[in-house]
Symmetry: D3
C-alpha cells in the first residue's frame, strides 16, 4: 500500500508535551515546496491508554477547537498516565476558513475515510489518521457540533457496540462524559465498517470511538464549552489517565435513538414552531416556510413524519428543498445513566 | 432634482389591500430590460396615520421579514384606520441572498440614505424611500436584527427626540411596542440629521422613526418573532389604527444607553465569558481569543473599557481585529415603562 | 460492489402516477444533513415496456426539461400500458443553474458513466442510473440539445445496432420519433461499450437507447418543442404503451453520418458563411474569425476538411482555438424513413 | 470642467486611414502604468460629414463589432467624402469578455453618459465620447443587438426628432438604412435630454443619432450581418459620403412604436407561445413558465397587457421575476418607407 | 464639508511613542459594527518638523512596509526632535492581501485623493490623510516600489518645486535620501494640483512631498531595504530631527526625467533584451513578444520610441496590449547631487 | 489498459518540421465538442536519438516556454540527426493563465504522473506523455523554473543514476548543459520509481531524464534565457544530433545535494538576510518575519537547521506558516564539471 506523504514534526513515542505540525505537502502557485500545517500536540507520560482527540474535523465547529487548545495548555505530562494526542484543527484548511469542507478540495473530512495517500489534502489527512495515527490508539474522541447549519444540545454520539463488551465500554464512556443528551446509533460499527467517518476508521482499526455534537450555528456558548471541558477530563479520569482528577457528581444523560430528519420542500424563510427537546407528534407541523418575495403567498407547512422530540434544529433561517430543519429522536428503552 | 427611475406597480392612494413590486431598473447581461422586484404591500382604509414598515433593510435579518409577511396576509383593510405600507425585503438583492449588503453593489442600505436616483440599485432604493415614500408617511418602523454577526434580545431602538413633544411620542411608541429591552440614542435626530440610515431619512422628512433589533445570528427564534408580531399590532393599536385590537398587559422595557462596543484585537476563536444581560465592569475580561493553529500559544484577553451590561453579543466564533464581540449598555435614569 | 447512497422517495414498483425526489446525500456547509433533490416521476399501469426518459443530463438543454414536465402532467396512468420513468432535471445542480456541468463538481454527467457510488454528486447520479434504474428498463430516451455552444435542428441520435435485430429496433424508433434529422453513429454500442454516456450505460445493461438533439443555444423554440412532444407520444404509441394515441402521418427523417467538426484555430468573433443544412465542400470556407481589437488585421478563414452538409452550428459569436464552429454530416445510403 | 485622461493614438484631423487605440489609463495590480486599449479607426478624405459609428457599446452584441471591423478594412479614404470614426469595441473590457457590462466596474456604458473623467473606466469612456468625440461629429450610428438576453429582427431605432427638421432627417436615415423593422421612440431627445445613453449624449451635443438592434442571443446571423453592412453603406451614400456607391432598391421598413415589455413573475423555464412578429392581443397568453424541479406543479401563464406584435423576444430559457420575455410594439400610423 | 468618520486610537498631540489603529468604519456581513484597522504609530518629542511616512499605499509594495515597521520599533522619542507619524499599511485591506488595490472597493489609493468622507474605505482613507493628517505636517515621505508589475532600482521621486525655494528644499531632500536614482517630475505640484496622488494631496496642503520607488516585483531585496532604512534616517537627520545620527558619505544620485514608457501591443511572453540602466536608442528593439501557443509564429518586436536609459522594467513575463514593459528616462542636465 | 482520448494533429513518424496540437477533449459549457490545444512541434531528420523537451509543465515558469518556442523556429530538420519533440506549453491551461496548476482541475502536472486517460485534463496530459510519447523517446528534458514562489540560479537537476552507466550518462548531460549550478538528487529513479513527476515517468519508461530550474519569480531574465538556449543546443550536439554546432568552452557547474528547505512559521512579510549562494550555518538566522499590522510587535527570526549555501530563495514577500523561504544545499564531493 502506498505510504503517507505527510510527515510529523513531533515524535509520538516520546514522553512529555510536544507541539508541532503534521506537514501535508501542498505544492501550489504561492508555495511550490509548501505544506499545510495541521497542528498536533502529544502529551505522554509512562504507559496507559492512548487517546486521540479530534476537533475541527469540520472547520465550522468551534467548541472542540477551543476545548482541545485549552486542554493542550492545561494538561501537564506529570499528571497523566498514558498519552493524549490532540488535533485541534484536524482539517486545517477548513478550520482556518471556518468552513465545513476544505476550500482546497471541497473535501468533507468526515466523508473521506479511509482516505488516499495520493489524493487531495483532505484525503491525505484522512489516510494519515486511519493508517498512521489510529493503529496506535485505544480510544478516539471526535468533537463536533452542528456546524453552521444545525444546533445540538451538548450530545454524546456513540454506537451500540459491535460486541457485548464493546457496548459496555461505550455506555461507560457515555456516562463518564456526562453530557445532557446522547444519540445512540443503531447498527453499524465493527471491523468491517464501510463508514466514511472518523468513527468508521476507528472501528476498522479496533479503536473505541465516541463523538460529540456540541452546539453549533457557528457560535460558541459558555455552557456547552464548560460541559465539554469537564467531560474530557472525566473521560480521561474514567480511563485511569488522570488519577488525581476529582469528578463532581454525574448529572445524567438522556439517551435517544434518531427517528429521522424533517426536510424543507420549498425555498424560503423557515419559521420554527418547535424548539430543542420539544415533543413532536407524527403529522404535526414543526414549522412554516414563508416567501416574503410574494408576501400574499401562503406559507407552506413542514410536517413531521416522526414521533419523538427535537434532537437538533437548523439555525439558518433560509432553507431550500432538501434541508433538514429539525431532527427527531426518541428515548431509548433504558434512560438511566450507566455509571 | 433628478427623479426616481423606480416605478411602483401599486397605487399608494387606493384603499384596500394591494401587493406588487417596486420595479428597480437593472439592465444587465442576463436581462437587458429587467428590473429588481422589491415586494411592496399597501393596506389602506379611510383616513388615519400612514405607517411605513421595513424589513430586510439588511438582508440577513429575518424576524422582520417573516413578521411583515404574516402581517401582510393577516391584516384586513376593514379592520384598519389609515394605511400600512410594508416592504418585507427592502433591499431585495441582499434579502434574496441572505447577505447584509447587496451582492449587486456591496451596498449597505442603512448606510446609503439619502441615496441617489442615478446610482446603484441600493442607492436607488434608498432614494425612493426617502424622496417618494417617506414624505407621505407619519411613522417609520424599521425592523432589524443583529444580522449574521450580532445577537440582540428583542430591542426597541429610538432617539430621545428632537423636541420635547417628539420625545414623548417616541417614549410612547417604545412603551406600545413593549419589547424587553430598549436602546435609546443620545443626540442625533431632527430635520438636519446627516445620518445615512433609514431613521435619518425619516427624521429629515419629519416622520417619527423607531427601529428594532430582533435577535440575530442568521436565525429566527419563536419567542422573538412572537414579541415582534405582538409589538407591531400594539403599535398600530396605539396609533389608533387597529381600534378593535385588545392588547394584553404591558411587560415593561429595560431602557439603556449604549456605552460602546468591545473589540477584538487579534484573530482567532472567541471564547465568551459573558452572556446577554450579564453585568460587566470596567477592565473586566469579557472573553478570550484562542489560536488553535498554535495550540500552546496563550489566549489573549478581551477587556471591557466600559461599565454596564451586555446589550448584544457576537454569535460568530471566528474574530478578527476590529470585530465587536460585545456591546455594553447602561440603564437610563428612568427605567419605568412609559405607558 | 458498493451500493448507491441515493434513496428514492417513490416506489418504482407501484402503479399510478407518483412524483418525488431522488435524494442525493450532500453534506455541506449550508446543510450538514442535506440532499440534492433530483425530481423523478413514475407513471405506471399494468405490464408493458419500461421507458426511462432523461432531460437535463446537461443542465443548459431546455426543450427536454419542458417536454418531460408537460408529459408528467399530461400522461395519465389509465392510458398507459407499462411504465414511464421521467427525470426532467437529471443532473439537478447543473439544470438548476443552467450549466452544462454541475457547479458542485464540474461534472459532465454524460461523460461520467458508469459513475461511482462513493464519488461526487454527478458520479453518484450516473451510478444510480446505470446500476439501479437502467437494469429494470427496456428503452432509454435521453433528451439533449446543442446546449449553450451548439445548435441542432431537431435530431434523433442512435447507433446502428450491435446486432441485426437491435439495428431494426433502432431504425423503427427513429421512424417513430419522426424528427427531421437523424445522426446515426458508426460503430460503438453493445454490452462491452466503454462509452461514458448514458447511451453507453444503456448498452451495457441491454437497454435500447436513443438520444435527441433538440435545438440549443440556451433557447427554447416552439417548433422544436412541439416536434419533441409529438415524437415522445409517437414512440410510446410505437412501443404499444399508448394504444389510444392516433399519430398523424410521418414526415420523414434525413439520416446522416457525421463526417466531423470544423474547429476554430484563432480567438475572435466568428462570422458564419453557412447555415444549417447548407452543403459544404472539402476545402470550402465555412466562416471567418475577426479580431475587432485590431480592426485592420485581416480575418482568418475557417476551412472545412469535410464534404457534406451542416448538421449543427455554434451559436456563440466568440470563439477560441479548439471550438467546433460547425459539424458536417453526410447522407446515409438509405434516406427513406423506416416505418 | 475636468479633462479626459484618455489619450488617442490617432490624429482625428488627419486625412487617410488610421488605426490605433484610445488609451484609457488603468493602474492595476497586473499593470501599474497600463491602459485599456479601445480600438479606434479614422477614415477621412476632404470635407464632408463626420460620422461616429459605435459597436460593442454592450460587449455581448456582435454583429456591429464584425460589421465595423469589415468596414474599417474595406473603406478606402479615396472613395470617401468626409470622415468615418469607428469604435468597434467601444466598451473594450466588456467586448473582450463578451459581457453586456464591463467586468472592471460592472458599468453598462449605455447607462453611463455623460460619464465622468475621474470615474471608472466605463465612465471615462462615456465622458470621452460625449465631450471629446461627439462635439466634432454630425451623425452617430450606435450598433446594438438584443445582447445575450433579447433577440430583435434587424431594427433601426430612432427618435421622432426634437424639431420638424430633425424628424425629417431621422426619417430619411431610417429609410436609407432600410432595415426590415424600426422602433421609433416617442418623446425624449433634444439638447436638454437627460438620457444616459449614447443617443442622449448625441442629442445633447446636437449630433443626429440613430441606433440599430441587430439580432442578439449572443449569436451572429449571416442575414442580419449582411443587412447591417448594406445599411451602413447606404447611409454613407445617403449622406453624400460614398458618392460612387450604387444602392439597390429599398425593401421597406415596418415602423413601430413600443407598447411595452411583458415580464416573468416566477422563476422557471419559459415556453414561448409567440414568435417574432406574431400578433398579440391584450390579455393573451404569450408563454408559460414551467418548473421541472416540481414536475407536477402547473405552469404559470405569462399574459400580455398590450395589443400589438412581438418586436423582440428573450432567447434565454431560464427566467426570473422581472425578466422581459417579449416586447410588444404597434404599427405607426404611416408605414411607408420615407425615401 | 463633511467630516471624516475615521477615528484615531492615538493622540497625535502627545509626546512619546504610541501605536494603535485608525478605525475605518466598515459595516459588513461578518461584522456589523466592525472597523478596518489601519495601523498608525506616532513618535514625538518636543517641537520640530512633523513628518508623515506612508508605506502600503499600494498593498503589493513591501520594502516600505518593513522599513517603517523597523523604524517604529527602533526610533526612540528621546532621540527625536519633532514628530514622525508612520502608516506602515496605509491602504490596509490592500496591504493585508498583497494587492495593489483594495479588495473591498478596487480602490487604488494613490488615484483616490482628495477622497471622500462618505465614500468607500479607500476614499475614506484618502480623505483622512488629506484633510486630517496632512494639515498638521511639514513633510510627506511616501514609500512605494514598482509593485507586482514593475521593478525600479532604489529611486527617489520628486517634483521640481512650485517655487524656487521649494525646488531647493526638494533637491536637498533628494540628496539627503541619497538613493542611486532619482525621477524628477516636470511640471505639476503646487497648491492647485489636481493630482489624485498622496503627493498631490501634500502639495494642496503646503506639505513638502517626496516619494520613493524601492524595487518591486512583489519581492524584498536586502540591498534596497538597507538603502531605504539608511535614507529615512538621513532625511530625519537632514531635517534636524535626529541630531545624534551620524550619516556616512553620500554616494550620489543619478537624476532622470522620464521620457515615457514602452508598451506591449500583443499578448504573449515578453523576452527582455534590455536590463535596468541599459541605454536605449529611439527605434531600438527592447524586447520581443513570443506566443508559445503557436510555436512557429514569429515573435513581435517591441520598439522604443524614446532615447535614454531603462529606468524601470516589468518583471512579469506575461504581457497584454497596453502593458508597460520598460520605462525610459534621460539624464537631467545637472547630475551632481545637490547637497 | 484504457487508451488515451487525446489525439495528435501531427505524425510523430514523419520527417521534417511539423507543428500542431494535441487535442485534449474537454466538453464544457462554452464548447460542447471542444478540445484543449496543447501545442506540439516535431523536428525530425533520419535516425538518431529522440528527445522530448517540455516547458510549461508548471504554467508560471516562462524561460523554457520561450526557449522552446525559439528552438522550434530556429532548428531546421536539415541540421538534425534524430528527432526533437517540443511541448512548449505542456499543461496548456496552466500556461495560458500563468498559473502553476491548471485552472480547470487544480492539477499540478508534475504531481500527476502516471496520469489517468479517463481523468481530468491534467491527468489526461500526464497519461499521454507517459504512455504515448515517452515510450518512443531516449531523453527527456523538462524545463522548469522556481515558478512564482521560488527563484533558482540556472540549475540542472538530475538523479545519480539507477545504474553506474546511467549515472555516467547523466553526469555527461549535466556537463553538456553547462549551467552554473546543479542539484543532484540522492536516491530515487529507476524503472520502479513511484515519483509522480515527469522525471519519474521517464524513469519508468527507461528514458534518461534531466530537468532544469531556470530562474523564477514569474520573470524572464536575459542571462538565464541565454544559458538555457545555449545549453539545449549543447545537449543536442552532445547527443550527436546537431553535428554542425560548435560549442564554446564549458564554464563549469557547481553540483549540490539538497540539505533541505527552511520554512516560515508565522504569517507576515519576510525580510531576507541571505541571498543566492550565500553560505548559511546551522542555527543561523536567514531572515525575519515582520508584522506591519502590529508595528511594535518584534519580528520572528527564521533559523536554518542546515549547513550549506542558499540554492533557491522565495521571491514573494508575503509568507505563511509552511512556506519555504530558502532552500539549502551543500557541495557534492566532486565539484569538477564532468566533460
Amino acid at each position: 500500500m502506498a505510504q503517507s506523504l505527510i510527515t510529523s514534526e513531533i515524535d509520538f513515542d516520546a514522553d512529555g508535551k510536544q507541539a508541532g505540525y503534521l506537514r501535508v505537502p501542498h505544492s501550489v502557485h504561492r508555495s511550490a515546496y509548501g505544506w499545510i500545517p495541521v497542528p498536533v500536540v502529544s502529551i505522554k507520560q509512562g504507559s496507559g491508554p492512548v487517546v486521540l482527540m479530534l476537533a475541527g474535523n469540520h472547520g465550522d465547529e468551534y467548541e472542540g477547537q477551543i476545548a482541545l487548545t485549552k486542554l493542550a495548555q492545561d494538561l501537564v505530562p506529570e499528571a497523566l498516565q498514558g498519552q493524549v494526542i490532540l488535533l485541534p484543527m484536524t482539517n486545517f484548511p477548513a478550520a482556518e476558513t471556518g468552513q465545513r469542507c476544505s476550500p482546497l478540495d471541497n473535501g468533507n473530512l468526515n466523508r473521506s475515510f479511509p482516505g488516499d495517500p495520493g489524493g487531495t489534502p483532505t484525503q491525505m489527512i484522512a489516510h494519515f489518521i486511519e493508517e498512521v495515527l489510529l493503529p496506535g490508539c485505544d480510544v478516539l474522541i471526535d468533537l463536533h457540533s452542528g456546524g453552521s447549519s444545525l444546533f445540538y444540545p451538548a450530545t454524546l454520539l456513540r454506537g451500540q457496540g459491535w460486541t457485548e463488551e464493546e457496548g459496555a465500554t461505550l455506555r461507560a464512556l457515555e456516562a463518564a462524559f456526562d453530557l445532557p443528551q446522547a444519540w445512540v446509533f443503531q447498527g453499524g460499527g465493527g471491523p468491517h465498517s464501510t463508514a466514511r467517518t472518523a468513527m468508521g476508521a476507528a472501528n476498522r482499526k479496533g479503536v473505541i470511538p465516541v463523538m460529540a455534537e456540541l452546539g453549533g450555528g457557528g457560535s460558541v456558548t459558555p455552557d456547552i464549552l464548560s460541559l465539554t471541558e469537564r467531560g474530557l477530563r472525566r473521560v480521561l479520569h474514567h480511563l485511569g489517565m488522570l488519577p488525581a482528577y476529582r469528578p463532581d457528581a454525574p448529572r445524567g444523560t438522556r439517551a435517544l435513538h434518531a427517528a429521522g430528519s424533517v426536510f424543507a420542500y420549498e425555498a424560503g424563510l423557515f419559521e420554527p414552531l418547535k424548539d430543542l427537546s420539544d415533543p413532536v407528534g407524527t403529522g404535526e407541523v414543526v414549522g412554516r416556510i414563508h416567501d416574503p418575495s410574494a408576501p400574499l403567498r401562503l406559507p407552506v407547512d413542514v410536517i413531521s413524519p416522526y414521533d419523538g422530540i427535537v434532537m437538533a434544529k437548523r439555525p439558518m433561517a433560509q432553507v431550500r428543498r432538501g434541508d433538514a430543519v429539525v431532527q427527531i429522536g426518541y428515548d431509548m428503552p433504558d434512560l438511566a445513566p450507566q455509571t
